[in-house]
Symmetry: C2
Subunit: 766 residues, 2 copies
């Protein structure tokens, strides 16, 4: 099923892979023709709105929807009673493990509202005004409960409990309910012995705040449920098949009764791997017997959709004078939000992954609190952990008087290194990115006062998983390529390029599309940086399936054994009765009906062998000591892509990740009042980087081919958000001599630290 | 590719095939949720309208669109200059041969307007009112030419020529331009010798008028053309792939750049196998850079879309006293409309096909005239020819004093009969339908004065062709079935039933859908009664492909050779280490990711071996001699379905065909004024049967399995429109002793004949 023949870079020169053709969806996206989640329209469509909890933590005593239901123009009102309740157990959905008890409660509060903005009811009405009026007529009786937002607060013995029945074995001396949902531990060697060998040990505590994925397009969908129990759903998502799984479960449907069509997606970054409105729209449509459209406001996106975790961390690393790390230890406490499931596990796995260590111990705690349940965000968990580890690494290098790149090179993980989380790495490219950083002019450029340079490395696993692809050969020799993974970062282009390379026809002859859930077998979602790797592998396999058929058709036409027919650069060739014959792909396509029927290449695989991608970022900052503002002056992102199928889009991923990291490092944070209500749910007050905040992000693509992929692809989308926070913190430390262990390094916080340092210096001088 | 193993009826009892579950699209269609051609909506959509020729025949001297273009709100105006001109040659499109020179001219008049209603220009504007106003501002200068509507008139030496360069070899003594587009001839044996052996010869001339397919849903589409040259088209059609072929050619596009999505279809009957608005909407959208919607009015449907041919025919049949036909001869002259391509060839092939004759000659002429180009209509050409032949057969039986069923049985074609058009029949069911008619209580029921009973048989080929199907197994063991042939008569049900039978899971577990042109390889259209046969064959092959994979996965799980795994009724079984093991389809689906990836069964075939379907209809009529109104009292349609996968939908086809035949026989006709302008372009004046016009149509399904299909399917949709006109004419003759050789037998025409007969009788008595 899944045994693509590796093609080494030296074995063959590629014609298309490695070039930078235009993306097939580009024009539609810049002209406004592309249809995003909110662009779908159906006749007789209703508008759905959600009533949300004003309380961070409250028992729902009763919900009276009668007045809302009686309002003319209201066609349906739903509460949690309209969704299935499901047992608390983790079941697989593709590569994920999902707890449907929690999911149904997150989508619509059941016994309790667990965060401000938690959905408690929803209405569908003939228009938005009527729906909004109906929301005001729903009478919810709450018993307001004390709330908790911080992980340390949530772990106190007297903390308000979000889930009375949540008992986590291994956390307490004896099992009792707590807000700690899970404890994970990864260890290698002997920590105590390691630290004993160390000449220098640095130990620091860190605090990061939740940040939102910040996709420009809010969640939006249209659902149409038929009286006979089947339904159609259009939505913006990173995974139509996962949405189908989730919604079918919450609505009590069979999977094949629900067709999910993904719209174009205006950003996801992990935040569109979950469902919010979709099950509600389906339940409203089922009740109203009409199509229902739902679109979130930005406020709703901030209040009720997943950011990634805020965290408290302690990291301790020891090294010898020679610069060899002897031990690393970390405790990571991640906010889960209202329901278990923070990315603390991958955070723990990433933490020390860039280094070849003998003694490591990482403990992670997943802690619920009265915030929106976190969702995946680009390398979920990784950036948080690496911010801490890479900050300590930097401090250690300084104490050892070693160049930070040199120090990392002395300890860098490479092929054969055993990671603390288990596996031995195959070929990986960290050393190459570090060497590229050291060799880059950026690394030697002069700096002025209050300017500093920081460097940090980052790791991300990348995943594979269930994937299908189909190539339909048209009668004129052009090809429709159908993939099942929504195109977020230009994957239509990279998939068409690999098909073009395999089939030997021009890139422009291949029209890539994203299929709905009826068009293909199951596809795991666009996430884990898996698309160019997994859908690429499926496309390559489908193309090779097509080439086999093309050769067979040529053999049939020439009446020769198929083994005698070769395929090269889009042409079948054989020697027939001493005469060399050839047929192009277009020739064979034209007569396909007569030689056996249409020609379709297809593949359904579980893609294995995704290769980790490692990066090193170099950043220069200047700190305005009057205002505390940190300006990013220069940024160079260096990353191992395995093979960059479309280098411009790989660079785009690297640049995008770096920019999001800059926002995380310098400005983005959630501000809550004392009632647990979010005070900055909008892009004016929650400050993501804008163009003027960032310099041109320079990129260097390193290519250490992944031997498990036919074109050496690793996956590149997530790693670039891992190093920036540490790199910037390291640069700030070099600029003004202050080590920040708390994010964001926003002007007030930086100014406060500068003032405190000056006050301390004055005091010392006095 | 295409070698389904026949399953004899006696070999196996089927659980699902032969039952009558509800159609999956039924609820959506009765609740109004189903989306038909005019239901698609896109943001910023324009409305397109067509300017049509007021003249039946006119040279277009000039078209000035400048004023229309200048009207505020008008976004694009097109003429024939915006479509490709193409050479006059017949090229294949699936199983059809297509002349794109003619198609581009039919879609938009170029040098001449050839019928009233012929499109000459089109506009797209912000709304319908502006578009309508813009049409009035287009200045077309015409040189009006003499026109011709009738085939005999069109063949006169001085007839107006529609196409100056149309020279048909074999029609004139020496080649010169004429309105005769084609001459076909099929012959067997020696006609002269045959007639010499005859004891009785009947020879009659016939006249039929064009009738429209009368689909309730008018042509409608939405096109969205992107600036980068790719386009999306939604339309009501019988064949999304054919529409893609046609439009791509007329727009100069590559096939894979155009995605065509078929809407639900509100009737087609052959009339939606062609394009009218679709290329115009695409051309307008290309020019306007916005989506364009176009919907025909009923008037436009009548004036500008294809009816089937009107015809003049001469049929001569001779037989011995013993009732054995010795020779049959026919001359069929069919109206092609403005461009060549009447169904005279299949008409010729059908004419004597129900009979086992030694001496036959059929000549057909395809004659252009100033009417809309004919389109396929249910068994194209067959009903016209059989009206003539079956009328003469009936008269001959009467002269021979033989029961008409008995006479047909003496001459019926059967397995091994060589048809005049070439092939030897395999197993066919005419004899069985005749015997069923004779045995039916209807055939012996008493009649009153002015009532008469008629019987007629009919033949249709049925076709196969390029077909694809995919079965996607969902994680819960339910299945998405994707077919590429629009569902007109319940094929979603019949396809899901065959998949259910093969996979051994419940019918309700399979969700059938119709894919767009990107979802599958090429599919020939829904036509030729091919869908249950061809898409059924593809579905069966796809299901068997899936079963092979299911067995392989079970073998992998059990670690046994795949040959040791059996599959029966949805369960894989093997004996593993002496222990019997079993896994259901759902079990295997659940773990598919771990055993190799998603499971997809697919097939891409050129379906061969469609079996002809034959029918015998029995009808009782009563003639009101005061008004001339013919009332159908009782109707029994008997037909060989091969195997009725879903008997209720087979009966629906038989009933629908009979009802359309009743309309054709009694009321439907086009009325033109002396300028060649249609006077009755609407359902008030063009009278299709309504409920009160027809009795319950009784049906008898005969099953003579088609050995070339895994379930014995033949295809049933077209044959039932073949016998009605002759059966009714025969019944009328038996009721009032008047033989009608002209259609429709409408009240004025019947009354006139009654009056003439009475006048003749009075004269004779005087």
């Amino acid at each position: 099923m899944n045994d693509p023949k590796p093609i080494g870079l030296t074995e063959r020169q590629w014609k298309v892979v490695g070039t930078t053709p235009l993306r097939p969806d580009g024009v539609d996206k810049v002209t406004g023709r592309a249809q995003f989640g909110a662009d779908m329209h159906l006749p007789n469509m209703l508008i759905g709105l959600v009533l949300r909890s004003p309380h961070a933590h409250a028992r729902i005593k009763s919900i009276d929807t009668s007045k809302a239901q009686a309002l003319p123009g209201v066609k349906a009102v739903i509460t949690s009673a309209d969704l299935c309740d499901l047992p608390s157990e983790f079941v697989p959905a593709g590569e994920m493990m999902v707890n449907y008890r929690d999911m149904t409660r997150n989508v619509m509060a059941r016994e309790k509202a667990l965060y401000e903005g938690h959905a408690v009811a929803a209405v569908a009405a003939i228009n938005e005004a009527v729906a909004a009026q109906a929301l005001t007529l729903i009478d919810v009786q709450y018993e307001v409960l004390p709330h908790v937002l911080d992980v340390d607060e949530a772990m106190k013995p007297d903390a308000p409990l979000l889930h009375d029945d949540m008992i986590t074995i291994g956390v307490e001396p004896k099992p009792k309910p707590s807000n700690v949902a899970k404890r994970v531990e990864f260890a290698l060697g002997d920590i105590a012995a390691g630290f004993a060998q160390a000449d220098v040990i640095v130990e620091r505590e860190f605090l990061t705040r939740p940040v939102h994925q910040g996709y420009i397009e809010p969640h939006a969908c249209v659902a149409s449920f038929s009286e006979d129990g089947h339904a159609e759903l259009w939505c913006t998502t990173q995974g139509q098949f996962i949405v189908r799984s989730f919604c079918a479960k919450l609505l009590g449907m069979e999977l094949s009764k629900l067709r999910v069509t993904p719209s174009e997606i205006g950003g996801g970054f992990g935040g569109k791997t979950v469902v919010y409105l979709e099950p509600l729209a389906l339940a409203l449509s089922r009740k109203a017997c009409k199509p229902v459209k739902m679109v979130m406001s930005r406020t709703e996106v901030f209040r009720a959709t997943g950011p990634t975790s805020g965290a408290r961390m302690r990291v301790k690393i020891g090294a010898t004078r020679a610069g060899r790390i002897t031990a690393g230890e970390a405790l990571l406490k991640y906010q889960a939000g209202a329901f278990q499931g923070s990315p603390v596990q991958p955070g723990c796995m990433c933490a020390f992954a860039p280094y070849d260590l003998e003694n490591v111990k990482v403990v992670g705690l997943d802690i619920v609190c009265n915030r929106p349940k976190v969702a995946a965000y680009r390398a979920p968990g990784g950036p948080i952990a690496e911010f801490a580890v890479e900050s300590v690494i930097d401090e250690l290098a300084k104490q050892l008087k070693l160049d930070p790149v040199e120090f990392r090179l002395k300890n860098a993980a490479k092929e054969g290194t055993r990671a603390a989380y288990g596996p031995k790495f195959g070929p990986i490219g960290l050393v190459q990115t570090l060497e590229a950083a050291r060799a880059h002019p950026h690394y030697r450029a002069p700096l002025k006062p209050n300017q500093g340079r920081g460097v940090a490395s980052g790791f991300w696993f990348n995943v594979g998983g269930d994937t299908c692809a189909t190539l339909n050969l048209s009668e004129d020799g052009t090809v429709s390529l159908v993939a099942g993974t929504p195109d977020i970062g230009g994957s239509r282009a990279s998939l068409a390029m690999m098909a073009s390379e395999e089939l030997g026809i021009a890139y422009e002859k291949i029209r890539p599309m994203i299929g709905d859930t009826s068009a293909l077998g199951f596809n795991f979602l666009t996430g884990g940086s898996r698309v160019t790797f997994s859908s690429g592998m499926a496309v390559v396999e489908a193309a090779r399936d097509m080439v086999r058929q093309l050769r067979a058709r040529a053999a049939k036409i020439w009446e020769v054994p198929v083994d005698e027919v070769t395929w090269e650069e889009g042409v079948a060739r054989a020697t027939v009765g001493g005469v060399p014959k050839s047929l192009t792909l277009a020739d064979i396509a034209k007569t396909a009906g007569k030689t056996g029927g249409p020609i379709v290449g297809s593949a359904a695989i579980n893609a294995q062998g995704a290769g980790p991608s490692l990066a090193t970022h170099v950043v220069d900052v200047e700190v305005d000591v009057e205002t505390g503002k940190v300006t990013v002056l220069r940024y160079t992102a260096i990353q191992d892509a395995g093979k960059a199928v479309h280098p411009a889009y790989v660079e785009g991923q690297m640049q995008g990740g770096a920019v999001q990291g800059i926002g995380w490092a310098l400005n983005e944070e959630y501000i809550y009042d004392d009632k647990g209500r979010l005070e900055n749910p909008g892009f004016l007050d929650y400050r993501v980087p804008v163009c003027s905040d960032v310099p041109m992000i320079d990129t260097v693509i390193v290519e250490v081919p992944n031997p498990r992929h036919p074109y050496g692809v690793r996956g590149v989308g997530e790693t670039p958000i891992v190093p920036p926070m540490a790199a910037i913190a390291n640069a700030v430390a070099n600029a003004i001599g202050i080590r920040f262990t708390e994010l964001p390094m926003s002007p007030p916080r930086v100014l406060e630290a500068i003032d405190a340092k000056q006050a301390a210096q004055s005091k010392a001088a006095a």
